[in-house]
Structure formats: structure tokens, C-alpha cells
């Protein structure tokens, strides 16, 4: 018998330049290193059943991303967290682990919204730009040869400036997925030309429960 462990993790510092596949490999190796009782697939090349909620873009930091790992029955949340952190020293660390109840939707399918913090090179005009965006009815992304412009305004649930930082809550998932970089691009019309975003940090990923947004760890 098996259970799923939901792992909430953070990543900060130079490791933010890893790609999504690098992160998967890193986690798999950590599981292997600390001899966690993971469940493996059958066949010649057994592999762990590990899946991430939401790929982290190259250069994005996070305080609240998620992975689900299938483990043997009897896995203990506290021990899993401790074991993983004992082999992670690179700026990637486990914040919380929860053993999921039967029938819980997997992390990837649960993603509905996410919070972000953006570090901007200058404070000037930030608050103003945020208000302008919120006052508008629509906000179209630029689009390119491959992607059509799309209206992301309905997906901006919250947006505010605090000094030279921006906070936003954005709709995520299959219906409308809003990227924080696209919101910042849209704000640029109202910002001084040299304004740059130097760091994007995801703060939390939410699912929905009884019509409310709930962090994935509480699902």
C-alpha cells in the first residue's frame, strides 16, 4: 500500500537559475540519498513517482512550491521533512510535509492561483502603475509568432506595490494562467523606461476548497 506525501519547498539564491528538469532530478537524488521509503515504478528502470505542482521558471525563487511523492505506507511527515533537509544544502529546502488523505487531488491538478513578489529596480511610479492596471478592464499580452495576445486582466486577483516591491495574486491553471512577468510587462507602459524586474519570487500556490483559495499544503 502507498500514500502520497505533499512536500512544500522553497528555493532561494543562485539555485534559482535551475530549470524545471534540474529541480526534478535534484529532488529524486535527495530522495535516493536519504533512503526515503519511496515507491518505485515497475520495469527495468524503476523510477520514483514524483510530480511537481507548477514548474518553476529559470531564475524564479519560491517560498511555497509543491511536489507530491508516492511513498510506502506508514510514512511520517516530520521524518520525511527532516530526512530531506538533512541532504539539501544548496538553497533548496523543505518547509513542510503533509501525508495526504485518500482521494486528495494531486498537486498539479489542484493549482488554481499563486502569490508572487517582484523586486523592481526603482520605486518610482510603481504604486501608480498598479492602480492603473487595476482600473483597466482588459490587459493584453504582447504575443508573438507562436502565441496569440491574450487578455490577462481577469486573472489579476490582487496587485499592489510596497516600496520597490510588487505583490500579486494571479490566476493559475488550465483556464487562464497568468505569468507575473506578463503583468510587469503590462505595467511598463506606466513606468520609467529603465525600470527592470530583477527577481520574481513565488510565495504560495493555492487550490480551491469550498469556493475559497487554500494553500496546497492545506488541501
Amino acid at each position: 500500500m502507498s500514500v502520497s506525501a505533499r512536500i512544500k519547498f522553497g528555493r532561494r539564491g543562485p539555485v534559482r537559475y535551475l530549470g524545471h528538469l534540474d529541480m526534478m532530478r535534484y529532488f529524486q537524488r535527495c530522495v535516493m540519498k536519504c533512503s526515503l521509503e519511496a515507491v518505485y515504478s515497475e520495469g527495468f528502470h524503476p523510477h520514483q513517482l514524483l510530480s511537481f505542482a507548477y514548474p518553476l521558471g529559470v531564475s524564479m525563487e519560491t517560498d511555497g512550491d509543491y511536489a507530491d511523492l508516492v511513498m510506502k505506507d506508514g510514512a511520517d511527515a516530520g521524518k520525511v521533512k527532516e530526512a530531506l533537509n538533512s541532504v539539501m544544502h544548496e538553497g533548496i529546502y523543505v518547509r513542510e510535509v503533509r501525508i495526504l488523505g485518500e482521494g486528495t487531488l494531486n498537486a498539479m491538478a489542484s493549482v488554481a492561483a499563486a502569490d508572487y513578489e517582484l523586486f523592481v529596480s526603482a520605486e518610482e511610479g510603481l504604486q501608480e502603475a498598479a492602480s492603473r492596471i487595476l482600473a483597466e478592464k482588459e490587459l493584453f499580452t504582447a504575443g508573438d509568432g507562436k502565441k496569440k495576445p491574450k487578455d490577462i486582466r481577469p486573472g489579476i486577483l490582487e496587485l499592489r506595490a510596497e516600496g520597490s516591491r510588487l505583490f500579486m495574486k494571479l490566476l493559475s491553471g488550465s483556464a487562464l494562467n497568468v505569468r507575473p512577468a506578463d503583468v510587469f510587462e503590462g505595467m511598463k507602459t506606466y513606468l520609467p523606461e529603465e525600470s527592470k524586474c530583477t527577481l520574481i519570487r513565488r510565495l504560495e500556490i493555492y487550490g480551491t476548497k469550498d469556493g475559497k483559495y487554500v494553500p496546497l499544503i492545506e488541501m
Binding site: 537559475y17 534540474d22 535516493m32 531564475s59 544548496e90
Partner: protein
């Protein structure tokens, strides 16, 4: 220091403007940060991160040096062309991955010389570090530039760029060299004084302490020390006891996908078989090995420390490891318990190896590999490859019965004394194997056609081989021979089951020149670099024409290095070096090659190559 708090040499914008930024940000599991040190060593692999990180020698030295409390060793790889351009444009000095500090701040810059085609990248590393390319033009305060790795068995083409070459295995003498360096620094001695003293340590070759003379034809006449106390010959240094020496059981694990993404167990060093074209077979002599107990202990430690899910065995010829059965049994049981895959090197195909492969690999997905190197039995005698046609066919038959239906074969073209019929034999051997498949496997059990892939490389007469006296084929001949091979394959009955590929001939010619050249070649290497050559080991960046232009502009008679058969008394640029095997032995082997006589391997009968002087390994019955 916390890896998450490290500073980076490149800004966010710079990192986001280049391919794979994680090549340059360091901080990987098992990478080493230090707060204090007396000596800093920058270990550079002059190719991209993914290649360099897959290199066991690099991991060995990194771990070994960092095990010294007073030394901090960091890693450097060639910046790919995108970052190279950015660094030049924005005047960013080349930096090491761990501290992200500029290379100029280091005491030593060590360059791994793994293949000749990375020579231009050495110049890239020196230039991006803000250092003069030639040792003679550098300051006393600049880092000591030291080279190591298999290409040091002919250092001369790049001698002018280096202060020292470390000839032999890195584990044995670095501590001694560092102690000397620290002592000289404490005493305020000059770099030159340090270098002279260094020549007393086994394996240290300081090129500026030797003078070279050429005769009226422009060929090497003499080479001798120009400073008192400097030895005439430099002797290769080796590890005496592999079980007792340092082994990296906690190697740095790359975040990004490296070429070799696995835990590596080095089983043996050296090879008992003296194939006459093979340089590795000579320069790593004598054969020494690790015990199965040591290796199994390392396997456990490696998995615990890295989390890799694949282990592979490494050596020149793992089938010759006497305790292979014991080792594999232990490994298979450990690996199945921990869900780890075993990647087997190309073992000699027999009942035992097929049984093992059956256990650890998916037969349907894997192919059998044979390296007969030559097509005809006569030619295989010439090159001393003791692989009889029956052995290949018997192995293939067993494998076909076991369900395999893919075979890979490796050959060489342009070997000394090669005739048309030797080349035709390549095609015929492929055909015979295909035929054997259809004879062995009944129609109803076949899963489609048998799939035979033959590839050929072109022969390069390397230093310290029996063929060092042999000429190399011209580029046109290489291409003609490849075309002829292709035609012969197409004439075979089972040609539809055979595909044939061959290597780039231009790369081979340049590799030959760089492997065999003398000190004067540094002018051409610098010239080709100035013309923009970098990453010659990559087809997308290599240009043969650029090299030929550089040879012409510098008046380099490159053909003289590769196209002529050398007389018995010719002095080679690498003759100052004692790698264990004697020139007399190699010449004997050259004569036996001409008579197509096979020489038995070290285990069957000692061929008296000269290595007994080391008093270790197989020469003394171990």
C-alpha cells in the same frame, strides 16, 4: 559559507541572456566552499561544463585537493561562445564556479588536457582570465599555469603556454608540489626558482628549462636541460596502491544534465592488451586494480552521497578485471535493493557477460558492441587486436539467441599496411554477422531485421605507441577509403541490415598534427585562435580551413609531422619523457606489426616493455 548566500560573478540580466546559466552559477551538491586557505587552485576543463563534469579525473583531483585543509580547489569550464562574447564585450574576467572570483587571484591554474581538440580553448581561458598567453610574457605575480591529463604525453605543441606539466597520475605528487610552492612563497623566492626546484619532484616537466635544436631540414635534433640540476628525462609518476589512494565517493553532482550522469567506479588503471594503435594502453601501464571489497564499499558511499540512480564501471578493459564475477554479483544485489541501474561498459561478449547484461539491461533496447578495429584477421594481427572472427561470431550467435538484434561495430581506416581487401573485410564481417542472425533466429521469433551499425574512425599515429613511426593517411585518401567502405557495404547480400558511418577527416588531420607536433606548433595554435577558433571538439564550431590558413600564415609544414614514416633513429618531441615503456620495446612492436605477428598480453606473458621499474601491479604479479 552557505551556498545559498554566495555572490555571483554575472548579473541577473547577463545570466538570463545566455544559454544554460546554471553552467556558471556553481553551488552543486558536494561542491566545496571554504573560509580559509593558504593556496588556491583553479581546476579548468577546457570544454563546456557538461563535458568537464563527466570526467572522473577532474572529480578525483577536486576532491583530493579539497581534502587538504590549506588548499581550496575550485572549478572552471570554458564559457560557451555566447558567454565568451559577453565577457569580451563587457570586460568580465573569467571566474571560478565556487567563489566566483577571477582566476587571476589564484595561485595555480590547472588545465586538464583530455584531447588535442581543446587546445584552442586553453588560450581562451588564459585570455579571458586577463593573462598573457605565453609563459615567458607572464609576471611573477600571475598564477602558475600547470597542465595535466593524457595529452601531456606530447606537451610540446602547447609547451610555450605553460609553466609546468604534471606528467602522470594526479594523486601521487600534488601535495609535494604544494608544499614546495608554499615554502618558496614563504621564503620570497621567484617563480623561476620555484619551477627549478619543482623539477626534483617526480613527473614535473618545466618546458622553459629545456632547449630544443632543429637540423637543416627543420627536424628535431636535440632537446636538453638549459639549467643545472634539471633532469634530462622526466619520469611519469603513478599511484602504487589503488586501494589505498584517495577516491571521490562524494563527487560534485551537477544540477544540469551532464554527459555522464552517474556514479562511476574506477575498477582498474591500465590495460593488459598492447593494441599497437592505442596510446591509453601504454601510458597508463602497468595495470593496477582495486579489490571488489573496496569497490563495493565505494558503491554504497557513492549512492549515499550523490543520490545517483545509475552506477557504471570504468576502466580501459573491464572484461580483463579478474574478479569481475564477484564484483558484479555484489553490485547487482546492492543495486536491486536500492533500485539503482547498472550501466555496463562494453564487455567482451561471452556467456557470462550476456547473462549479466540480461539481468541489468533491457535486451530490446540495448545493442551489443564489438571493437574489432580492423576488418581482416591479418590486419587485426598487425594492430595486435587479439579478437578472432570466431570470437565475434560466437558472441553474436549467443546474443542473438538471447534476444538481441542490434550490433554496433567499431573500425579504423588508414591503419599502417592497409590494403583494399582489409577494407572490404569490414563489409564482409558485417554481412556475416547479419547472415548469422537469419541463420540463428527462426523467422517467427525475429522482431524485424537485424540492425548492424558499423562506424569507422581514421587512424592517428599517437606518441608512445608502436605506430608512432607510422605515417598518417592524407585527407583525400581517408575520404576515398570511407567511400570504398560504403560501396563494399552496399555490395553485401544483407546490406539493408547494415548502416555505416565515419568520422570527420578534417578533425582527424588536425588531431594528428597536434598530437605529434613540436614546440614550433604553438605559433599556429595561437594564430588559429586569433582567427576565432574555439571549441574545435564541436562540429558546429570547428573549421578545417581555418587551421590550414593558420599553418600557411605561420609557415608550419604540418604535413611533415604526420605524413612520413619515421626512421628508427628519429628523435621525437616526446622522447624526453619516460612513461615506463621503452622506445626499444615500442620499436620491436612496430617491427612485429610489419610482420603481422601478435604479442601476448601482460597476463599471458610479459613483453618486457620496461614498466617493471615501477615495481607494482601486474608486472610483479598483482
Amino acid at each position: 559559507m552557505d551556498k545559498a548566500e554566495r555572490k555571483l560573478a554575472l548579473t541577473h540580466e547577463q545570466l538570463m541572456s545566455i544559454e544554460k546559466p546554471a553552467r556558471y552559477t556553481g553551488g552543486e551538491p558536494n561542491s566545496v566552499m571554504k573560509d580559509s586557505w593558504r593556496l588556491r587552485f583553479a581546476m579548468c576543463f577546457p570544454d563546456v561544463y557538461e563535458i568537464g563534469m563527466s570526467h572522473l579525473g577532474q572529480q578525483i583531483l577536486y576532491g583530493l585537493m579539497n581534502s587538504y585543509e590549506d588548499v581550496w580547489c575550485e572549478r572552471v569550464f570554458s564559457p560557451w561562445t555566447d558567454l565568451d562574447a559577453l565577457m569580451r564585450r563587457e570586460h568580465i574576467p573569467l571566474f571560478a564556479l565556487e567563489s566566483q572570483d577571477p582566476l587571476k587571484d589564484f595561485d595555480f591554474i590547472g588545465l586538464t588536457l583530455q584531447y588535442e581538440m581543446c587546445y584552442v580553448n586553453i588560450l581562451q581561458i588564459l585570455e579571458l582570465s586577463g593573462l598573457a598567453l605565453r609563459a615567458a610574457d607572464r609576471e611573477d605575480s600571475d598564477p602558475v599555469i600547470i597542465g595535466g591529463g593524457p595529452c601531456v604525453f606530447n606537451t610540446e605543441p602547447i609547451a610555450d603556454f605553460f609553466d609546468i606539466f604534471y606528467i602522470g597520475e594526479g594523486e601521487s605528487c600534488y601535495r609535494e608540489l604544494f608544499d614546495l610552492y608554499l615554502k618558496c612563497r614563504d621564503e620570497g623566492l621567484s617563480k623561476r626558482e620555484f619551477l627549478i626546484k619543482a623539477t626534483a619532484i617526480e613527473g614535473m616537466y618545466v618546458p622553459c628549462l629545456y632547449d630544443v635544436e632543429y637540423d637543416e631540414k627543420g627536424r628535431l635534433k636535440a632537446m636538453y636541460p638549459n639549467t643545472p640540476g634539471v633532469p634530462e628525462k622526466v619520469r611519469k609518476t603513478i599511484v602504487k596502491d589503488l586501494d589505498g589512494v584517495y577516491y571521490p565517493t562524494a563527487p560534485v553532482v551537477p544540477f544540469i544534465q551532464a554527459a555522464q550522469d552517474r556514479a562511476v567506479l574506477e575498477v582498474m588503471r591500465g590495460c593488459i592488451r598492447g593494441c599497437r594503435f592505442c596510446q591509453a594502453g601504454q601510458i597508463y601501464k602497468p595495470v593496477r586494480r582495486r579489490s571488489p571489497e573496496t569497490l563495493l564499499r565505494y558503491a554504497r558511499e557513492l549512492i549515499d552521497n550523490t543520490g545517483y540512480d545509475v552506477i557504471s564501471l570504468s576502466s580501459l578493459s573491464t572484461s580483463d578485471y579478474p574478479e569481475l564475477k564477484e564484483l558484479l554479483e555484489g553490485l547487482i544485489s546492492f543495486c536491486s535493493e536500492r533500485k539503482i541501474n547498472i550501466s555496463l561498459p562494453s564487455l567482451r561478449i561471452d556467456a557470462f557477460s550476456l547473462d549479466v547484461m540480461n539481468k541489468v539491461q533491457d535486451v530490446k533496447k540495448n545493442s551489443l558492441t564489438f571493437a574489432p578495429e580492423a576488418g581482416s584477421p591479418r590486419m587485426r594481427n598487425v594492430i595486435n587486436k587479439g579478437l578472432a572472427k570466431e570470437d565475434i561470431l560466437n558472441g553474436a550467435e549467443l546474443a542473438f539467441r538471447g534476444g538481441w538484434n542490434r550490433v554496433k561495430l567499431y573500425f579504423m581506416l588508414g591503419l599502417p599496411g592497409e590494403e583494399e581487401e582489409d577494407i572490404r573485410a569490414i563489409a564482409e564481417l558485417c554481412n556475416d554477422i547479419a547472415m548469422l542472425y537469419y541463420d540463428t533466429v527462426p523467422k517467427e521469433e525475429r522482431k524485424g531485421r537485424v540492425n548492424i551499425t558499423a562506424s569507422s574512425s581514421f587512424f592517428v599515429p599517437k606518441p608512445f605507441t608502436a605506430f608512432q613511426w607510422a605515417p598518417m593517411d592524407r585527407k583525400e585518401n581517408f575520404l576515398e577509403k570511407a567511400a570504398f567502405t560504403k560501396r563494399c557495404v552496399r555490395e553485401q547480400l544483407n546490406q539493408k541490415s547494415i548502416s555505416y558511418h565515419y568520422h570527420d577527416s578534417g578533425t582527424t588531420i588536425i588531431e594528428g598534427v597536434l598530437a605529434r607536433g613540436d614546440r614550433r606548433l604553438s605559433a599556429a595554435i595561437e594564430a588559429v585562435y586569433r582567427k576565432g577558433a574555439v571549441f574545435d571538439a564541436w562540429t558546429e564550431t570547428f573549421s578545417y580551413e581555418r587551421w590550414i590558413e593558420a599553418f600557411e600564415e605561420t609557415g608550419t609544414d604540418y604535413g611533415d609531422y604526420i605524413y612520413r614514416e619515421r626512421p628508427a633513429d628519429e628523435l621525437f618531441p616526446w622522447d624526453y619523457l619516460d612513461c615506463g615503456v621503452t622506445k626499444a620495446y615500442l620499436y620491436r612492436e612496430w617491427q612485429r606489426a610489419k610482420e603481422a605477428v601478435v604479442t601476448p598480453n601482460c597476463r599471458d606473458r610479459c613483453a618486457g616493455c620496461g614498466c617493471t621499474g615501477y615495481g607494482v601491479g601486474i608486472c610483479v604479479g598483482k
